[in-house]
Amino acid sequence: MTAVWSVALITFKEGIKNRVIFGIFIIALLLFAATTVVITLFMRDIVKVAVDLSLSTVSFAGLLTLLFIGVNLFGKDLDKRTIYMVISRPISRSEYLLGKFLGIVLLALTVVVFLGLMSAVPVILSKRFYYYSEARFDWMIYFIAVIYIFIKLAVVSAVITLFASFTSNSFIALVLSLVTYIIGQSTEGVKLLMASKVEKIDVSPALSYMAEIAYYVFPNISAFDLKTQAAHGLSIGPSYIIWTSLYAVFYIVIALSIGVLAFRRREFP
């Protein structure tokens, strides 16, 4: 466990030292600043627009961090051959992989905590600026949505770990992770579209079967998207929280297990 933790800490430190992360933070802060200007263009649901922009910024910054820094943290050891130094030490391959995963999850956590707190500023400003009497907003739901952004990023981290465990360079891992993220966002929508049976459009059974399979294979990332709920103060039941969290945990365990299996058999060049 100490081995896992020390790899995680090194990975985290390496990631936080990366200059890209400052760029991402600056973009995020600029977007928060822009939020305060953009909301003045709307009519009544101003707090909703501010919440949309704030939470989307947090989520977007987190994704950029994972895809640009997280993926590279895996690739570096392989590209620069420093992996030999690591695996020659008393640490198993699975410990190394888990440590790496934990490191980028820590990185995502830092981004979400920092930006999540910052994101409250434009929302507070928007509430001061104009709060329509029939609008609904609740800080508790807002921060649940922020936590869910972190859960989503943890799932994406597990997917990145899985792909990095067997691909030969970080660019392929990046593309695969990105594609998985996009598919994971849309499987639910596609499944619903197939089920809705739009009139006069016949969906072939093979296609709907494929959509069904994709729904179970790829992570259903849209389940972790609670931005609409946060924007309109719609309550989230405890069972939703329990089941989606369990789903995230199970999915992460599956992805990491497959990743560990692949990484153990891997031969380094």
């Binding site: 709307f42 909703k48 609008a135 609904r136 929508g189 931005k227 609409t228 924007a231 719609l234």
Partner: protein, 279 residues
């Protein structure tokens, strides 16, 4: 020395050139925009999938694009064509499909489609969607009730939605009373005046407020003439043939002006109408 001088001259030349060019570019862009017209509306099923997790942002963007377009037209004092209104409706529909609870497109679509053009049906479709999702918001059934009552003369539905609005905690005791009276099919003009006064009180948009006030003044004039015609009938036991009868027989001193620029007249069925048709 020679080199840096050349560079400085070149840079200042380019700087002046670029400032001149950008002013021309903005002019050219303006011309381009005027010819550009309305764009495509993304079908909501497609938008829902490609928006990924940023559905709320997509809704904001679609809404603000249509609103900006409408605003530009308004500033240039141009009238929107039938297709443009249709485009606005479809944009509002897509935006609210992406975020079912987003008030602005409902509000913008419903008020402008009903008041700006004759698309009350579309306005009500939007409002009914809002009624389903925003199930705490009393203003939605209020607007719906108003549209049914005022534009469609459907007192039954109007009463239903006003009652719903009252159930959701509409402020003030005015609305329930009104709803009850509507159910008994009271006088249209008087009720409309009460409605409009209520709406004006809650509107902070100056342009909309002005539109409502113009309508309110016209309705007040109509109510005034209706009452005068009723008084005439009581006094002379016959209907006035035209409004000049009212001034000739000293029932009223003068005929009020239609704020929409038309002229008031008495229709065959005895109701007061105007040549501007309140438009």
């Amino acid at each position: 020395m020679q080199r840096s001088l050349t560079t400085a001259i070149l840079v200042s030349f380019a700087l002046i050139g670029s400032i001149f060019a950008i002013s021309r570019v903005s002019l050219e862009r303006d011309n381009l925009h005027q010819k550009e017209g309305i764009g495509l509306v993304m079908p909501s099923q497609v938008a829902q999938i490609i928006a990924l997790e940023f559905k709320g942002l997509f809704a904001d963007a679609i809404f603000s694009r249509a609103m900006t377009y409408y605003g530009g037209k308004l500033i240039r004092a141009e009238k929107l064509s039938e297709e443009e209104w249709d485009w606005i409706y479809r944009n509002m529909d897509t935006a609210t499909d992406l975020d079912n609870y987003f008030l602005d497109p409902y509000y913008f679509g419903a008020t402008n489609l009903a008041w700006g053009t004759n698309k009350v049906k579309e306005a009500n479709l939007l409002l009914e969607k809002a009624f389903k999702y925003r199930d705490w918001d009393w203003t939605i059934p209020f607007y719906l009730g108003f549209n049914y009552f005022y534009f469609l003369q459907d007192n039954e539905n109007a009463a239903f939605y006003l009652m719903e609005s009252a159930k959701r905690g509409a402020s003030g005791s005015l609305i329930p009373i009104l709803a009850a009276r509507l159910a008994y099919q009271g006088k249209r003009t008087e009720n409309a005046i009460i409605f409009l006064q209520e709406i004006i009180r809650k509107t902070d948009d100056e342009t909309l407020k002005k539109a409502y006030e113009t309508r309110l003044n016209a309705l007040k004039s109509i109510l005034f003439l209706e009452r005068a015609a009723a008084a005439y009938q009581e006094r002379f036991k016959k209907q006035p043939e035209n409004l000049d009868d009212l001034t000739a027989k000293n029932v009223i001193r003068e005929i009020p002006k239609d704020p929409y620029g038309g002229k008031f007249y008495i229709d065959k069925d005895g109701s007061i109408k105007t040549t501007s048709e309140l438009r």
